[in-house]
Amino acid sequence: MDLDTDVLVIGGGMAGLAAGIRSQERGANTTLIRKGQSATSYSSGAIDVSGYLPGGSQQLLSAREGIEAITSLYPLHPYSILGFGSADNDDVPGLAIERVGQAVEWLTKHLKSTPAQLYGGIDSNLEGITLVGTKKPTALLQQTIWPGEFAVDDEGVMLFLGIKGVSDLNPKIASKTFLDNQARTGEPPHKVGNASLDIAPFGHGYNLSTTNIARWLDREENLVTFIEQVKKKAEQFGATYVALPPILGLEENLKNQKALQEATGASVFELLAFPPSVPSFRLQRGLERVFIEKGGHLLIGHEAEPCGIESSKITEVLARSPRRKVEITTRSVVLASGKYIGGGLAATVEGLRETVFGLMTVTDEFRESGKTRPQRLTNVVSLSPESHSLFGCGLSVDQFLRPVNPDGDATAENLFAAGSILAGYSYAMEKCGLGVALATGHYAGETAAANATGGGV
């Protein structure tokens, strides 16, 4: 099988799909291959852009504030690289904020009216509530996860509503944690309740998943009974907020949320979830649909075979599916193959390796890490505010996001990298995972398309 394309994107997470959609929009025929789903499908429903400064201690009020600080302090952070621009640009933070802001607005526009519709932006971090009742700062939340502003209204009542058989939410524990937190900060709502619903999609109220319930709620005939039950509980507690596990639908969550709000008069929303989650399912699928609608060619179940880079340009990549091989000729390549889970980076006793092209990898301090044993890059404490250096390893890139060789030159003139495969940041500590993937993917897509259609970056 053969295939010819202007831009080939390797990897189908946030970075790859953002690159693919953008490149297609910029007039380049784009093919995206992905072997599996990955980190993007594990996310919680929050799109983090910048939640904490590196080091983890300082919680940020807005992503804008975060990017400004990061680009001033950490010149090799992916956000700083986005701010480089041309040689005469002397406002790195300004350009970085502009590019990240544009990418965020662009994504919000594309996901509008899809099940993954977003709320938020880079000017103010939101607080999403999690399944365990804690809060998490983030730039954007999926619309059905946004609880609305907690008005300064002492009469508000928050009801954590679990579902029998769905173990993700223990409403009792979540409400207690939430209440403790409210008491400490003095913020409303001060009244919290908990209850459980008994719905049995397969005829039993045990061993159910949020995905099961979400699928069940996608069917109109089930919504009526569900609304009745929620309404009853909401009235019983006088709830003004109803927090559910993420179950409002894989497809119909927006419509279902609206129906529930109308019926109860309360703000009904979903809690941020554990991986892999219903919201990340909606995000992954939403992005894929946008890519296809834009005319992109999505080839899932195909893995780029390892190959060396022989000349200054990559013109051919071999993709393997279980029983077929596809030879792809291309003019630009975007490598968005993720980190350790995605498979873009492999950490073995021999050292850190980039899996497709064998590109140079570096540590979080930008030292070559091809022969560094990964054990040396972890902390003794698994959950430490310093995170693990291992998270900061990856590819070092130039201002066009082209991976560089030990001399600092682009390894191939038409190869761009985006997303978690980049070095220099830790999503786990900074809470910036999907934000970096989005912003670098968006920019890489633009540059790869320009390179393929106009010849040169």
Partner: protein, 410 residues
């Protein structure tokens, strides 16, 4: 003890423990299971879990991290592993390339070997047919009846009949598969119509036999390997250069066998043959106008898109778009499966039904008048299910749909 005695002793102990050592060609699958990170992504997508819930079918993650881990206890997993349709969706979303559909076959094989009483009865009947006739379905008793049934189908579909050709050293071996050979005979004839239309030098098998996929799926590894061996010999004797088939399952299994057993012959589905060997331009030239405009969607068989390549769904779309008055509508179903795979329908029709429902809803949503599937088995399954729900959507095998639009030879 000599080395041989040692070996025999160990094999004896393994047999007592109901352990069958892995074959060389199974090792890659076994190792892939070890890469599972227990993340549960696959569970969100498995169409059987979606259809009947995780209580009834514990799903791919459970197969990867629990059910496949203890060979002596494989027998205890039968009520779960026989419910997998082998659709491959889990493997497609898995970040670690865990080969769940393949490990399922390996576990089934070991249950079949050591505790055949725990293999669903219905599968034993299929196995009996395979052993007796080398076919997945009992052959027609009266060949005249068979011909009559074929002619009725051809007449209804307005397809010509071309005499069967069997010859050595033809370019292509046309292998219709059991379903088209014995039941959906119109698909077998449609395959011939396609090849005739482009003057392909082809042959049929003088003595048709099953590729062994049903035997693999029900766990009879020995019969599967035997059928594969016969087929290899027959193909070798004919000396053809390529194999073309109309069945999704056959394409994927023959591709696998050709590589595993060194047949050294490429295997094509009709779709692949048309696009890659004939070329879309030559096909477009020949495609004729049908009477009325048809709005069409495609059901993509698991064996084509997930066991081979999603590119095949693209091929199907390209071909329909090339037809003068067929309108192609893409179904937005992602994790599709007709429920007919993995032999599940034979023993647990309720599960197959639960799985296909998602599909039927997606087909109805497209608003098309016709769904075509590049596989006679999927076609039959979907047709039956749509009929049961009283749907007015019609179903055709894609090869038939193409053949109807190709010129007839004098």
């Amino acid at each position: 003890m000599t080395e041989e005695e040692d070996y025999d002793h160990i094999m004896g102990v393994l047999r007592e423990e109901r352990i069958t050592p892995y074959n060389e060609d199974e090792l890659e699958t076994v190792l892939s299971i070890g890469h599972c990170i227990n993340c549960g992504l696959c569970l969100q997508h498995c169409p059987v879990v979606a259809g009947v819930g995780v209580e009834r079918f514990s799903g791919p993650r459970s197969i990867a991290v629990e059910l496949s881990r203890s060979p002596p206890e494989f027998w205890a997993t039968g009520d779960k592993v026989f419910l997998c349709t082998g659709c491959g969706t889990c493997r497609e979303v898995c970040p670690k390339n865990v080969e769940v559909p393949e490990i399922v076959n390996m576990i089934r094989a070991r249950i079949f070997e050591h505790r055949p009483d725990l293999v669903p009865q219905e599968l034993h009947s299929v196995d009996k047919t395979l052993l007796e006739h080398g076919l997945a379905f009992a052959p027609w008793e009266d060949l005249e009846d068979k011909a009559e049934s074929r002619d009725m189908r051809l007449e209804r579909l307005n397809l010509p009949f071309y005499p069967n050709r069997v010859k050595e050293r033809a370019e292509v071996l046309f292998y219709p598969g059991c379903q088209a050979e014995e039941r959906a005979q119109e698909v077998r004839e449609a395959g011939k119509v396609v090849l005739e239309a482009f003057d392909v030098d082809y042959t049929l098998l003088g003595d048709f036999n099953c590729c062994g996929l049903p035997a693999i799926l029900l766990g009879d590894d020995k019969t599967a390997r035997e059928l594969a061996k016969h087929l290899k010999e027959k193909v070798g004797a004919l000396g053809t250069k390529k194999i073309v088939t109309t069945c999704a399952g056959c394409t994927s299994n023959l591709s696998y066998l050709s590589e595993r057993d060194g047949w050294d012959i490429p295997v094509y589905h009709t779709l692949e043959y048309l696009i890659e060997e004939i070329g879309i331009e030559s096909l477009t030239e020949k495609l004729t106008q049908s009477e009325d405009t048809q709005s069409v969607t495609v059901h993509s068989p698991c064996h084509l898109i997930r066991h081979m390549s999603r590119q095949l769904a693209e091929y199907a779309a390209q071909i329909i778009e090339a037809m003068p008055n067929a309108e192609y509508t893409e179904s937005n179903l992602h994790d599709s499966c007709c429920g007919g795979g993995g032999m599940v329908g034979y023993h647990s029709p309720d599960v197959a039904q639960g799985v296909v429902e998602e599909n039927l809803r997606a087909i109805e949503r497209t608003g098309v008048s016709r769904v075509v599937a590049p596989c006679p088995l999927c076609t039959a399954h979907i047709e039956e299910m749509l009929f049961r729900t009283g749907s007015s959507v019609e179903v055709d095998d894609l090869t038939v749909f193409i053949a109807q639009r190709l010129p007839k030879k004098e």
